[in-house]
């Protein structure tokens, strides 16, 4: 963290946080609750886990809630395109993310968390996940050249239309949805920033109203020109974001961040982190298991016979169970293998039917009727 920022923060914050005595300093320790938003948007960062965590926040009633965002679709050497595209954020769930953020804010309100104490800490936000950087009243970034806030041009994918009026409609509608993230965070002042980060034709300037920075698409009275290009979108690194006062500061760790919020000491509640890590680890393990199971099922189907089919059916049932248990598994099965829950159900039904038919044919073809093993599997040739 830059020394000047720390110094300024300590000078500004000192009066409010100065302890009045030993007892007061002990009792006034704020509880800080960190909620990770780490990994792939739509799977790791999924509404279901935040529902659980926010319920816990309501129980804990922390003083400060820090959302630590680390979600990047591409690494810092974008042009090499060496990233695993399967791990890129799910763009199609954009409206669900907005609903998730809305629910988070509703839950935090219920927990009595003051808006001023809701913070997003961007370790790295590049791609669709970066939209969450706009979703909270205060934003900090990690003090590192690899800490980014950008890549939001992916939202343009929603506008792509041949008809100019329809394109304008889609742009209006989808940018309206994107702006909702800012509204949830009480950051409507950043709408011009969002526009410049999504649409290349939008420019961005900064003016000052007293000591407050005002972002605008209008160059009149501008003090800084942030983006005068009509061909490129705007992206930030932590240094730039801090310089233009988009972020409240660049921090090296949580201590720095909490200090900048005006607290010299704090009590850490780690339950949110634990819940998130457990969830992430479990769904990813389940997904890995599914990949193996799908291979097994294909093999078992090839084995043929009632036995093979029965084993394949049971294997598919296991995959189905995991897909139903973890929406993230279902999402990735669909993206990576084109396998949906509905298709799994259909597969199981068709195998069941084939088994039943084989048995029926077997029985029909057997002179010994219903009894004995000889009646099984007779009709499987087809």
């Amino acid at each position: 963290m830059p020394f000047t920022s720390l110094l300024a923060a300590s000078l500004v914050m000192a009066p409010t946080s100065a302890p009045t005595g030993d007892v007061a300093s002990e009792t006034a320790k704020p509880v800080v609750y960190v909620i990770p938003m780490d990994g792939q948007m739509g799977t790791d960062i999924h509404p279901s886990i935040y529902e659980t965590i926010i319920e816990d926040v309501q129980e804990v009633k922390p003083d400060v809630v820090v959302f630590k965002l680390n979600s990047a679709d591409v690494d810092t050497i974008e042009h090499i395109q060496n990233d695993d595209r399967r791990e890129a954020g799910m763009l199609g769930m954009f409206q669900e993310y907005e609903g998730m953020l809305k629910d988070i804010h509703t839950g935090l309100r219920k927990a009595g968390v003051d808006r001023e104490d809701m913070v997003v800490w961007l370790d790295d936000g590049y791609g669709i996940g970066a939209i969450l950087g706009f979703g909270f009243p205060k934003m900090f970034m990690t003090d590192s050249p690899d800490s980014r806030f950008g890549g939001l041009r992916v939202i343009q994918a929603f506008f792509a239309q041949n008809d100019a009026d329809v394109q304008a409609k889609m742009e209006g509608a989808w940018m309206g949805t994107a702006e909702k993230f800012l509204m949830h965070g009480g950051r409507e002042d950043l709408i011009p920033v969002l526009h410049a980060m999504v649409m290349p034709e939008k420019k961005l300037y900064a003016k000052f109203d007293g000591r407050d920075v005002v972002f605008s698409e209008d160059p009149n009275g501008a003090v800084w020109t942030l983006d005068s290009s009509t061909e490129r979108v705007l992206n930030f690194d932590s240094d730039r974001a801090e310089r233009v006062m988009l972020s409240e500061g660049s921090v090296e760790n949580l201590e720095d961040l909490v200090f900048l919020l005006g607290h010299q000491d704090y009590e850490m509640n780690e339950r949110g982190q634990e819940m998130f890590e457990t969830y992430k680890e479990r769904w990813r393990r389940a997904f890995e298991q599914c990949q193996g199971l799908l291979r097994d099922a294909a093999e078992q189907e090839r084995e043929g016979g009632i036995k093979g089919m029965g084993r394949a059916m049971n294997t598919y049932k296991k995959v189905l169970g995991l897909a139903r248990q973890y929406p993230a598994v279902e999402t990735r099965l669909s993206r990576d293998f084109g396998v949906s829950v509905l298709q799994l159900e259909g597969k199981i039904k068709s195998i069941q039917k084939a088994i039943a038919e084989s048995k029926r044919n077997g029985r029909g073809g057997s002179s010994r009727g219903r009894s004995g093993k000889s009646g099984r599997g007779g009709g499987l040739g087809g």
């Binding site: 009026d165 304008a168 409609k169 742009e171 209006g172 909702k180 949830h184 068709s350």
Partner: protein, 445 residues
């Protein structure tokens, strides 16, 4: 003594009428559900209008049979001796089957048919209501009074024409009508738009509704046809994150927007709708096409806003490269937002109520019933089609078509085609194919 008897007689007259009126006005859900208990220990709980799948032992043949249909009556009587009347289809025709409780092996609810209950004694007598849903020939005695001032609240979410429709608005209006004119009807809008044809119906419904009630739009998301809907309200309030606009009409098949006379007519129509609700027409028109631009100037002293249908104002709302989608701040400035409310309590204050009070829970029930039916149909249709495609006999296929038919009955053609993507198209086509299949089966016999 004489006074006492007069009071008694008054109580008898008005009290009885009031009680009768309340009973008839009660939504069907409010009436007690029936629990049927079967010999095998299983049970079913529900009410008239439920679409059920019943497995029963036929009293004549003694064979186990399965039927799907809508319950039109459950007789009263001792448990085990009751009967249900099932409206079903046989050989493509409507048929009614009476099944004894004691013969039923299992019964599962698969949906809910639209049940139109009479809303007043006059309705019951005349057998219907006026097109607007108002009670025909209602008398003062039939007008209910709310315990305390409140609203009739309807959530209105999802695609316009399937989830979000004029039908539900009419249902909540019918509920409000029972309490007389000048009720507050809050329509909580969260929709990304939908069908133009539904927009026409919404226009008719809300235009009528505004004549007798105070219609309030509470905007969370009002895009396209939903923005057109919000424009019809007497008052518009917003959520902080609300958004409204982008009413470009286009053909979803070709992706081409309307032009020429059609576009001119649509621009005029939206402008007219806005003006009828005392909203600025330039703003509405700018939501429709890039051809309409607008800007405004806000006097820093007085706060007075002047809207221009060109770009001569200080703030450009939309230029020739985009169509207008308002956010909360813009909406406040241009008079499309009368206040911001993120909670029902906040909205109550704007409406002049001391607290949020929903006069009845009918709105929630209307919403729940409708969305549940669609959700269920959406979930079931692909699975039914899967079963249909895996069927090895015509009888099996017919059975799955019947299952599908029950969803058509609960949701209607548009929902089944648009939301559920039923490959059969309209209900008539499904019935025609069922009939053909039945004939095939019969001819083989």
């Amino acid at each position: 003594m004489r006074i006492h008897s007069r009071i008694k007689s008054l109580l008898t007259t008005f009290g009885l009428i009031a009680i009768v009126a309340v009973m008839l006005a009660m939504p069907t859900d409010a009436l007690a559900e029936t629990t049927l208990r079967f010999k095998n220990g299983k049970s079913w709980r529900g009410d008239n209008g439920a679409i059920v799948q019943v497995e029963f032992k036929h009293f004549r043949t003694g064979k186990t049979q399965s039927l799907e249909g809508t319950i039109v009556e459950i007789t009263k009587g001792k448990p085990g001796r009751r009967a249900i009347t099932l409206q079903t289809t046989a050989a493509g025709r409507d048929a009614r089957e009476i099944i004894l409780e004691g013969d039923i092996l299992s019964m599962t609810t698969v949906g809910q048919a639209e049940v139109t209950a009479p809303t007043s004694t006059a309705d019951a007598a005349s057998g219907g209501s006026s097109p607007s849903g108002r009670t025909v020939g209602s008398t003062d005695a039939e007008v209910l009074s709310a315990e305390k001032p409140g609203v009739f609240y309807l959530r209105w979410t999802g695609m316009v024409g399937t989830y979000a429709r004029h039908d539900e608005m009419e249902k909540i209006a019918a509920e409000a009508d029972k309490y007389g004119d000048n009720q507050i009807i809050v329509i909580h809008i969260e929709s990304g738009g939908g069908m133009v044809t539904e927009g026409d119906k919404i226009h008719e419904t809300l235009t009528e509704l505004k004549k007798r009630h105070r219609v309030v739009a509470w905007v969370e998301k009002a895009i396209s046809a939903a923005a057109y809907t919000a424009m019809h309200a007497n008052e518009i309030y917003w959520h902080d994150e609300g958004t409204m606009g982008a009413i470009v009409m286009f053909n979803s098949g070709t992706g081409v927007s309307i032009s020429g006379r059609r576009l001119d007519a649509w621009v005029k129509r939206c402008g007219d709708a806005a003006e009828e609700s005392n909203l600025n027409r330039s703003i509405a028109e700018a939501m429709i096409t890039r051809g309409e631009v607008c800007s405004y100037t806000k006097d820093p002293e007085t706060g007075k806003v002047t809207i221009y249908d060109d770009l001569s104002g200080e703030v450009d709302l939309c230029d020739a490269t985009n169509v207008l989608t308002l956010n909360k701040l813009q909406a406040i400035d241009v008079g499309y937002c009368m206040g911001v409310a993120n909670t029902k309590d906040e909205l109550a204050k704007h409406l002049g109520l001391s607290e949020w009070n929903e006069v009845t829970d009918a709105g929630q029930k209307i919403y729940d019933r409708h969305t549940r039916a669609i959700d269920r149909a959406k979930e079931q249709t692909p699975r039914i089609m899967q079963d249909y495609n895996l069927s090895s006999t015509d009888q099996e296929r017919l059975r799955h078509m019947k299952r599908l038919l029950s969803h058509y009955e609960a949701c209607g053609d548009i929902i089944m085609i648009v939301e559920c993507r039923s490959p059969f198209g309209p209900k008539e086509e499904l019935i025609r194919q069922m009939e053909a299949l039945r004939k095939q089966i019969a001819s083989r016999r």
